[in-house]
Amino acid sequence: MDRMKICVACGMPMTEVADFALGDVEKDYCVHCMRPDGTMQSYEEKLDSLSALIVRTQGLDQGVARNAARNMMARLPAWKVDEADEGTD
């Protein structure tokens, strides 16, 4: 496919049809950021799953992983507003 999008929720490059939620290339979020019903995960859901991914793939401390995930999400178009509302934990 000739288009290349970046998932607005997690930043993953989407290059294949299978990368897109529901295999729909009109969607702006990827298959990993989709709920079972095809809608996009919430900020909290994404923060939880991204933090868990960092811990699983690199074994980092949970708090460090959560901060890194939050920091990265703050720079993605989908979460700019939510991040400001989120406060700290």
Partner: protein, 196 residues
């Protein structure tokens, strides 16, 4: 949506600044390069750099994000093709070799970089580890590799690479560490995890 000429020009300047910063960091390191040096090398005014990147930290992050995007695109293409672990690690090595000077600077200086810069790199490494784990788990399930938790598999691999890169002056003072030792390290790693 068609972009205006001004928007296109803005994007091009940003790209040019990222490329220039990339080369400057690779050559001199993150800490010693000042934004003024980047402006000079890119042949733009110092103000232009700040118009695109409000802080030096923002520029660090933009450059690292670009590096991560390039590496993960390469790995992503491979991972969707159901390639073997060896091929994915070879692609990782190949990707790192393209940016070896830059990556080595990061390995050496990461502890003194701003937190957000380190966070950006953490995300990049998670993406890489995820792609490696997809291939590794298929081979673990097939009984070809010994079962190892993903984080230990990745950290063992990356620890090996980073040790050689951080001490490149001892291992390959006049050339590329990954060119000289990459294949040997890969063979060693594959032997370590092979099912007996």
């Amino acid at each position: 949506m068609t972009k205006t000429r001004r928007q296109l020009q803005k994007e091009q300047t940003r790209k040019h600044l990222i490329e220039t910063a990339f080369r400057q960091f690779a050559q001199h390191g993150f800490i010693t390069v000042r934004t003024a040096d980047i402006a000079q090398a890119a042949q733009v005014s110092h103000g232009t750099v700040f118009a695109h990147f409000a802080t030096q930290e923002a520029l660090f992050n933009a450059v690292i994000e670009e590096f991560g995007l390039r590496i993960s695109r390469r790995l992503h293409e491979l991972a969707v093709g159901n390639r073997g672990l060896r091929e994915v690690l070879e692609a990782h090595l190949k990707g790192l070799r393209e940016f070896e000077a830059f990556y080595t600077r990061w390995v050496v200086e990461s502890r003194v970089l701003p937190d957000s810069t380190r966070d950006t790199f953490t995300i990049v490494q998670s993406t890489i580890s995820f792609h490696i784990s997809q291939a590794a788990e298929r081979e673990m399930d097939a009984g070809e590799q010994i079962p190892i938790p993903v984080h230990l598999l990745f950290n063992t691999w990356i620890g090996l690479l980073h040790y050689y890169l951080a001490n490149d002056d001892l291992f390959a003072p006049e050339g590329s560490v990954l060119e000289r030792y990459g294949q040997e390290l890969l063979e060693h790693f594959m032997r370590l995890i092979k099912a007996r």
